[in-house]
């Protein structure tokens, strides 16, 4: 093994694991050996600090809670703001309601007009047929 060991491998070696090849590299490579020693030193300091118990000011439940409440409040404010903007976009501006009503009336008018035309067309055909019958009757029967 010629490449230097990764941090993860060094940590595994420090924990008593790792392959024989990696251990051999650790013995042969001064740079990895120094990194390994630094890791061991750091872990020793961390373990001592944790064993000694929390120092004053290390954990601030109230501060953490305040931070969480702040994040929650910001999320709620964003949600409310978004809902308000969405609602504003949906409601037509003042005076614009007439346009919508006019469009609805136009649409309705078109629909009704079509049916009226159709009905009128049917009626006119019937009326025309009726008029022709009347005229024939008048011709045969006389005035």
């Amino acid at each position: 093994m010629t490449r230097c060991l990764t941090e993860r491998t060094l940590m595994l070696l420090q924990a008593g694991e790792g392959s024989a090849e990696e251990r051999a590299h650790l013995r042969a490579c001064p740079r990895c050996a120094a990194r390994h020693r630094a890791l061991a030193d750091d872990l020793g300091v961390i373990a001592d600090a944790l064993r000694a118990g929390p120092p004053p000011g290390a954990t601030h439940p109230a501060r953490l809670r305040l931070r969480a409440v702040g994040a929650l409040a910001a999320t709620v404010a964003l949600a409310v703001g978004g809902a308000w903007m969405w609602r504003t976009a949906q409601v037509p501006p003042p005076g614009g309601g007439g346009d919508v009503s006019a469009q609805v009336e136009d649409l309705a008018g078109t629909l009704f007009a079509t049916s009226e035309v159709t009905a009128a067309g049917e009626q006119s055909d019937e009326a025309a047929a009726f008029d022709e019958d009347d005229e024939l009757a008048l011709l045969f029967e006389g005035p």
């Binding site: 595994l12 961390i46 001592d48 600090a49 944790l50 929390p54 954990t59 601030h60 809670r65």
Partner: protein, 171 residues
């Protein structure tokens, strides 16, 4: 701690020898010192209630303490959220003099390490505590926490990486 010649476990001696270690472990895994104290007492009560002494009482205590702390975190998060908003809960630690370890490590370093440790996931805290502080093997940690050895290594690596970054002031 071995059973006595009569086959009975010397509970008093075991309590005296292990109470500090179990309390420290609970203190590590629970943010609240009062809750840690409660859990520590619960663990020893459970030990006393055992009909037969466990074969390895020290390991039994550790395993039960870790499980009890995990149960506390799961069950009472909302209660702690409501009731435990004290600004500083380490007054008893601040009141006494510094230990040699505390004197060797700067206050800022300790604060950073503890702050980052508190930000680790519960699993990472448990793995780091058992592996690095209690000196358990990866296989033992995996068995106790119900994880694969790969997961234990992964949690350990992440915890170590973050704690080292905290120690160097580059979290």
């Amino acid at each position: 701690m071995k059973p006595t010649a009569s086959g009975q476990l010397d509970y008093d001696a075991l309590y005296r020898a292990q109470q500090g270690r179990v309390r420290s472990l609970c203190r590590l895994l629970l943010a609240d010192p009062h809750e840690a104290e409660e859990v520590c007492q619960e663990v020893f009560v459970k030990l006393f209630e055992q009909r037969a002494a466990p074969p390895a009482p020290e390991r039994w205590l550790t395993r039960v303490a870790v499980n009890a702390c995990r149960d506390r975190r799961r069950a009472g998060w909302w209660r702690r959220w409501r009731e435990r908003g004290r600004e500083l809960v380490e007054t008893e630690h601040a009141a006494r003099g510094p230990t040699p370890e505390e004197a060797a490590i700067g206050l800022e370093d300790r604060q950073r390490i503890w702050r980052v440790f508190r930000l680790l996931s519960a699993r990472q805290q448990e793995v780091f505590a058992l592996r690095q502080l209690e000196g358990w093997s990866t296989a033992e940690v995996a068995e106790t926490l119900g994880l694969s050895s790969g997961s234990v290594k992964r949690h350990l690596f992440r915890a170590t990486h973050q704690l080292r970054a905290a120690l160097r002031g580059t979290p």
